[in-house]
Subunit: 402 residues, 2 copies
Amino acid sequence: MLAGAAARLGIDLHVQTPSREDPAVALASSVVVAPLDDVQATRRLAERSGTISFENEWVPLDALLPLREEGIRFLPDLDALRPLVSKREQRQLLDRLHLPGPRWCPLEAVLPPPPSPPAGEEETPTPTAAGAPSPPPALRPAAPALPEGFSFPVMAKAAFGGYDGRGTLPLRRQEDLEALLERVDPAAWILEERVDFERELALVACRDRQGRVACFPLVETHQHHQVCDWVLFPAAVDHAARAFARNVAASLLTALDYVGVLSIEFFHGRAGLQVNELAPRTHNSGHLTIEACPCSQFEQQVRIVTGLPLGSTDPVLPGALMVNLLGRDHGEEDPAERLRALAALPGAHLHWYGKRGSSPGRKLGHLTLRLDAVTPADRAAERDRRLAEVRRIWPLPADSPG
Amino acid sequence: MLAGAAARLGIDLHVQTPSREDPAVALASSVVVAPLDDVQATRRLAERSGTISFENEWVPLDALLPLREEGIRFLPDLDALRPLVSKREQRQLLDRLHLPGPRWCPLEAVLPPPPSPPAGEEETPTPTAAGAPSPPPALRPAAPALPEGFSFPVMAKAAFGGYDGRGTLPLRRQEDLEALLERVDPAAWILEERVDFERELALVACRDRQGRVACFPLVETHQHHQVCDWVLFPAAVDHAARAFARNVAASLLTALDYVGVLSIEFFHGRAGLQVNELAPRTHNSGHLTIEACPCSQFEQQVRIVTGLPLGSTDPVLPGALMVNLLGRDHGEEDPAERLRALAALPGAHLHWYGKRGSSPGRKLGHLTLRLDAVTPADRAAERDRRLAEVRRIWPLPADSPG
């Protein structure tokens, strides 16, 4: 969708992708076929391209620094990306800016302190003939323990590489915590308190090279097994929540000197708004901007990276519902008939990505439906009715492991 | 744009095109590289495709008839296309349906009747030694003459193959008529009175397989050297003219049992609405439906051909101006900077087609601008202001031969 926006604006697009079957390939002026962390390939890309941007946050920042030293321009800048590519650094950034988020700690914080031998007992106990002795109680490794202020259940999150619930694990009890510690590097994970939210919200915000900030409308998102199921615009929250979300976005964008599109996911509940996650890119929660706004999140990213003024983010529809079309089974039947039925729904805009292959939970396309209800209650009813229409045609995938 | 709409709906598109550089190639599931009148190639296309449709009216109808006999489905049907692919048959169709159009006649009607020798003078004159004699006045071929009711200037139009003014010729005086007769087959041309119109209008209409008719908003079009320069929505005409245009469309679509998108160009003036031309396809005057309507003319054509219900044609913008970006010189400079300036105009949606090469008058892209004025007078002023902004960046090509 990003590549399509660039093509339509007549902008030369050069793509680095590991696969020739990437849908962006058909729209690109040239392609460097290479893994995304192949920095020599990125150097070749830079020879063709004035500016390099990213479609996901799995960016080999340190390896790219020498390229920036050579004068290659990255937008957003690598420094702006650094606090965003790791969930741990995201939390540190939010703390530094005093922006609200769930209580968190590095996973390392659950480790018991290294045993400091009691004063005056420097000698090790002598093994007996019966074998190694049990260490005395004071030297036995203490069990890991949640820091003060935390209680089970807690969420464990990998600092790098997670998406759609991958790298996120609910810990319900002490044994879950110990099992996690046996298989991961505690420095690469964090723990978060489990937030008791009423709804999840998301905001796609953007900032241009001159520092101007704009926000797309705040939306409500709904997950199924930690994968986005549907997105509703407008979100059923009051003006104060909308204003607060925009302020959080402006603070983050400005503090990072961030140039480009940034997505912010929020929890919303009794504790107000709390930042859940940040993503330095266009986002699934912004797909409905294609129909709901004069300039989509994709065109906006292209405009910013190429130095064009921001497009308008004012909605042109009274409401919209975006429903993800997730893959169900490996090797499932030709979806043509189901796509026809979806496209035939009134007010429906189908976006099929034409990806090859399918697997359960994989995002294969999405459907945006115009909503006309005026009040939040009517809109929720309209959403439920339209969502049921879609799910009769395209059910959610069977329960997949979380 | 048609191929893009099909891809987005997840519809398998197979393309017959003479050029691998056709922008549709990148979006097609498969391509048959062959001239459009290569019927054997169309047969190969039909092996892959359930339905065949057309992007222009240069269709070898008679050669395709055997394919239809074999069960290959064409939409619109070849019978519905027959009266539309020739300007002469278009005029006959309009007459048959009593739909208003300029006075017209076949070019053959200007030819003098074959000399019928005066009664009793059956012998041929004998050549003299001085050479062939001048025939007597009664036998000299009479000069061609406009039929009764016509007067110069008149418009001569080729029945087949014209577009953007090609195949259209104003005849200002008797000598122009005689010069035309010396170089063309009179059976393949028609003459039309020159209409003294105030504005040109266009309507993109559509009819689905169940016979339901829908019309996109009536627009005003403006030509420069017979090539479309800009298109304005809504047209500054009264309700009666709008209703009349829709009625003309419904009559034509129904009489032809036409399935697909049909475009109608009108003259509008003291004589009311008169049909100028018909085109059995999506049309330049409908490009602004991409932004101005929930479902564009391109998606509409794809929906109809694949049996989906019609999308909405109700406008979602208060007004819009579409400006064509025409090529100027052979081998002109890289347009990147001018495209940037166009995309930077407020409320502008740029569509660059990415065609290779440029020549004067070739349509290389278009720009659609949102208009907010409410009254026709304000809208005309807004149009002039916005058009001037565009033309400062992207001037019209220098005067090309008409």
